[in-house]
């Protein structure tokens, strides 16, 4: 496994929103999922995960609810609010714009 990449400013929000898009997940679930999907490129530790989760919840984009894990342990599950869903669409669009633009610059170079 190579060294995890530095996250771009604001990207973490997008990753989290996208990760919970299809259903509620708790903290460990979210960081596991991000690590899995990115093949270990992004590893999100609790020091950046939880502040991001709470910030998104305060903005009204995420909703946290207490539930039970298979092990019987209580955990807080996060899911998208309707407003969060709208925000995700906006962020996806923005990201694509930026991604395309940067790629164009890179293509020019080669």
């Amino acid at each position: 496994m190579s060294k995890p990449a530095e996250l771009l400013q604001g990207t973490l929000d997008l990753l989290i929103l996208r990760t919970v898009e299809h259903g509620p997940l708790h903290g460990v679930g979210i960081s596991d999922r991000i690590e899995q999907v990115t093949n270990g490129v992004f590893v999100v530790g609790p020091g950046s995960l939880f502040p991001a989760l709470h910030r998104l919840a305060d903005k009204g984009w995420l909703e946290g609810e207490w539930g039970t894990l298979e092990s019987g342990r209580r955990a807080k599950f996060y899911s998208l609010t309707p407003e969060g869903r709208a925000q995700l669409t906006v962020e996806k669009r923005n990201w694509r714009k930026v991604f395309t633009a940067v790629n164009q610059v890179l293509a020019e170079e080669s």
Binding site: F50, D58, K59, L69, R73, R74, A75, T81, G84
Partner: protein
């Protein structure tokens, strides 16, 4: 979500901080536990797994701290966002913003000023050390609670009582200060040496009186107030030890009191020792007595000791005739603020709070109307996923922004109003102990009031806005119809409550105004136009000679009479409207002594023509009533009505003691022959029904402590100046103290009624205007939304009159309901006000009628204006709006 559960959610959000902390802790802990368990699943021991997890991540506490930081950051960010948005919205409707800010500024400004008074006078603790140990002691004649204290009795009390650490007697007077240039009059409090020990006061410079300094020969020392030290002595530190000339004697300055304290707010400019002769009289009650309880002695113990002591003293001196006299001991602080002032302040405070409530109701109304207009925008935001909480917060931010801006302006208005109140009131209206200022305490109150107002007028519309179903609002196309029926009802309620409160205030203000008007027009018993008067301070410590006093008085009167522009001048032992000077027990010869007393004024003969007192029977005093002649007296009409109804008073006699020149004791009993009856001069205040008094000739009763009255024509201030000059021609060191026109004196005596009347009247008018703005606002809003309906009605043949009746009919309902409720409330308030009213019934028909008429006409105007606009609508254009 219902109104109540929404509020509960808001509140619990504030109260559940602890819960949120616990949640966060559990959440992060779970994260760590899952990772530890994973490692244990791979065969690690728990200790090893824990260690490895700790190494991999930051600690639990650091993570939690980061979360808190993030939340703080995001909440500040949203707050700023909301504030920016609110500011933008408010800028977009400058008319509304201006009205809202002005309303809040006026209401909060009035609250700030009145609360400063209430706080300074009623709430702020006294700055005396252990103030509960300070007491005031009185002599207690049979049938009364409190009487001034005689010098002889005070001496015995101070010597024989054990309950007190220090006891002091005091009396007020003015002293002539001659330090080069024109003499000036200084207010002096003459006090026993332990006076400052009673109050626990220390000098800021030098010292206060030593124990023996109220003994003859050691008493030529003076303590200055800071105010006087700064004002007259330029704040020079070398003043201690300096000699100053007071009443022609040389005094040594021994100390200066600290600045900014009750001493600087009080009447006296300086303090001099009170010297009591060893054989001081027991029958002249001119002293007030204060004392400090010994530590551990209760006021009840002191009371019972003083009662025993006073009764014993009364028995010891039967010749003085004070059988049945005892003593009363009061807690000093309890006596500072009278019931009258207390209720005045309570009424004013309630009035400004009512104004604030009316203002809030108005703004809530307006905001609700706006939120209806904005329901489309709100619905859109909610459709896009804005949470209801977020919408409520946004609207609350808007209202809090409004109230904060209003409050800032309000502080300025309040400070101005407070300064005005203090400038109009006579300086000694409030007790010295009260420090009235728009200070930190007041600002704190204001801040709380601001937040509460913001919430009060912002919450209702915010909840309403958040409650509405988004889909419905969009369907309605922002026009609102059946769904706003509830809102309309709520607004009608607001109007009714506003009207009721404004009506109550207006009735109260009206009653006070009417009572004041009646008081100012009361017959004072004399003709006050063109009369000026002032006091002539004289040294009260010496033993004046009767002949000398008479000579001095004659010279003064002659000199004043000779002035051009002065028609008549006289001396009197008390000035018009300033009390009788002395009250004297009297009885009819041959009849049993009863507990009766009469106002006793010593005058030179010119007093009667100078005041144009009406002669009712017999004659007034003349130059023929001389020292050796038969003792005669002129009584007033009130006395005759009280004691001699149906008899001819002329030639009858009353027995009363004679005043002695020093005015520190009373002389032998004299049988005075009544030679005349004059109209009753109001002496003890304009509102007194009976004012029994009599006049004796100065030549027969020469005393010190005089005032001069003069009747003249022309400019009163020029008159005062030439009177002053005349006095100086006789005695270079004689000051004319507090010279003013009698009309001014009259103003002064009603000031304590004028101010509450003016303020309450002002607040009432403000309330009326606000309530009308509320009525107008609601009606014009409702009418505007019914334009279409009006158009249809007009097209169907309704006349303008019909349309106006329709609108006015709908609008006047809450107004009438409010008036009805207000009427009941006004009656309740009036009952409370009754004690403050003069010759005015709480049910005063004229006041009630005119207030109702005023209210109805203004309220109707507020209804008719929008109705008239609505009725002018062109049916075609109204219909086309569809």
């Amino acid at each position: 979500m219902s109104w109540t559960s929404r509020t509960r959610a808001l509140l619990s959000g504030l109260l559940r901080r602890r819960q949120v902390e616990d949640d966060l802790d559990e959440e992060v802990r779970t994260y760590f536990e899952i990772h530890v368990e994973r490692r244990m699943g791979k065969g690690q021991s728990r200790e090893a797994a824990l260690r490895a997890t700790r190494l991999e991540y930051e600690g639990l506490e650091q993570v939690k701290e980061k979360v808190r930081d993030a939340r703080m950051g995001s909440s500040i960010e949203t707050l700023l966002q909301d504030l920016r948005y609110a500011a933008r919205v408010l800028r977009k409707s400058p008319g509304f913003t201006f009205f809202a800010v002005l309303t809040i500024a006026l209401a909060l400004g009035a609250n700030a000023a009145i609360f400063s008074l209430v706080d300074g006078v009623l709430l702020k603790p006294s700055s005396y050390p252990e103030p509960e140990r300070i007491v005031q002691i009185w002599e207690k004649p049979p049938g009364y609670q409190r009487n001034g204290v005689s010098g002889g009795n005070f001496r015995d009390w101070a010597k024989q009582s054990h309950s007190f650490e220090a006891m002091a007697a005091l009396t007020d007077g003015s002293m002539s200060f001659t330090g080069g240039g024109e003499p000036r009059s200084l207010h002096a409090q003459t006090v026993s040496a332990p006076y400052f020990d009673v109050f626990g006061a220390r000098a800021a410079l030098g010292r206060t009186f030593a124990r023996e300094e109220d003994e003859p020969g050691k008493d030529k020392v003076v303590v200055l107030t800071n105010r006087l030290w700064q004002g007259v002595f330029g704040g020079e530190p070398g003043v201690v030890g300096r000699q100053v000339s007071l009443n022609g004697s040389s005094y040594t300055v021994i100390g200066v009191l600290p600045g900014g304290t009750e001493y600087d707010r009080g009447w006296p400019d300086l303090f001099v020792p009170l010297v009591l002769a060893p054989d001081a009289a027991r029958n002249y009650h001119y002293l007030r007595v204060v004392a400090r309880l010994r530590a551990g002695v209760s006021i009840e113990q002191a009371r019972s000791e003083m009662e025993t002591l006073a009764t014993h003293i009364a028995d010891l001196y039967p010749a003085v005739g004070k059988t049945g006299w005892s003593a009363t001991v009061d807690r000093y602080l309890d006596r500072l603020v009278g019931q009258q002032m207390r209720s005045t302040l309570v009424i004013l405070m309630s009035a400004v709070l009512a104004v604030l409530l009316i203002g809030c109701a108005n703004l809530a109304n307006l905001l609700m109307a706006r939120s209806t207009l904005r329901s489309r925008e709100i619905a859109l935001r909610m459709a896009l996923g804005a949470g209801r909480g977020r919408m409520v917060r946004m609207l609350l931010t808007e209202s809090l922004l409004l109230s904060s801006v209003g409050a800032l302006l309000g502080v300025g208005l309040g400070a101005g109003l407070l300064r005005w109140i203090q400038s109009v009131l006579p300086p000694y209206y409030f007790p010295n102990e009260s420090s009235i200022a728009l200070d930190g305490r007041v600002l704190l109150f204001l801040a709380a009031a601001t937040v509460l107002t913001g919430m009060a007028f912002g919450l209702a519309p915010a909840i309403q806005a958040a409650r509405g179903s988004a889909a419905e609002a969009l369907k309605e196309g922002g026009r609102g119809g059946s769904a706003s029926r509830g809102k309309f009802l709520a607004r009608q309620w607001f109007v009714a409550v506003q009207v009721a409160m404004a009506f109550i205030l207006l009735t109260g203000g009206g009653l006070l105004m009417r009572s004041l008007h009646r008081l100012l027009n009361v017959d004072v018993g004399f003709d006050e136009t063109g009369v000026v008067a002032g006091y002539l301070p004289q040294d009260r410590q010496g033993k004046p000679e009767a002949e000398q006093l008479i000579r001095y008085a004659n010279q003064l009167v002659e000199e004043a009479r000779s002035l051009p522009g002065i028609q008549e001048a006289a001396l009197a032992s008390a000035l018009p409207l300033q009390g009788w000077g002395d009250g004297m027990p009297f009885h009819f010869p041959g009849k049993a002594r009863e507990n009766r007393s009469i106002g006793f004024k010593v005058v030179t003969p010119g007093y009667f023509p100078a005041l144009r007192l009406r002669l009712i029977a017999g004659r007034v005093l003349t130059e023929q009533d001389v020292a050796g002649g038969p003792p005669v007296i002129v009584v007033n009409d009130s006395f005759v009505r009280s004691y001699m109804k149906g008899q001819n008073p002329i030639g009858q006699r009353i027995v009363a003691n004679r005043l002695l020149p020093s005015r520190r004791e009373i002389g032998e009993e004299v049988s005075w022959e009544i030679v005349g009856v004059v109209s009753s001069e109001k002496s003890n205040g304009l509102d007194t029904a009976t004012d029994d008094g009599c006049y004796a000739a100065f030549a027969q009763v020469p005393v010190i402590g005089l005032g001069v009255v003069a009747r003249g024509s022309g400019d009163p201030s020029a008159l005062i100046k030439s009177l002053q000059a005349a006095v100086w021609r006789v005695d270079r060191n004689q000051v004319l103290d507090r010279p003013m026109t009698v009309a001014q004196m009259k103003e002064e005596t009603v000031m304590d009624r004028r101010l509450p009347a003016l303020l309450l009247g002002g607040f009432a008018v403000l309330a009326l205007l606000l309530a009308c703005a509320g009525i107008y606002g609601v009606l014009s809003f409702v009418t505007a939304r019914r334009t279409q309906e009006m158009g249809i009605r007009a097209a169907m043949g309704a006349t303008r009159g019909d349309l106006m009746r329709l609108v006015v009919g709908g609008g006047s309902l809450p107004v009438l309901a409010g008036l009805g409720a207000g009427f009941v409330g006004a009656l309740a308030l009036a009952r409370f006000l009754q004690s403050m009213l003069f010759a005015t019934s709480a049910m005063d028909a004229l006041t009630l009628f005119s207030v109702s008429a005023l209210f109805l006409s203004v309220a109707m105007a507020a209804c008719i204006l929008p109705a008239w606009r609505a009725a002018r609508v062109d049916p075609m254009s109204a219909l086309r709006q569809e």
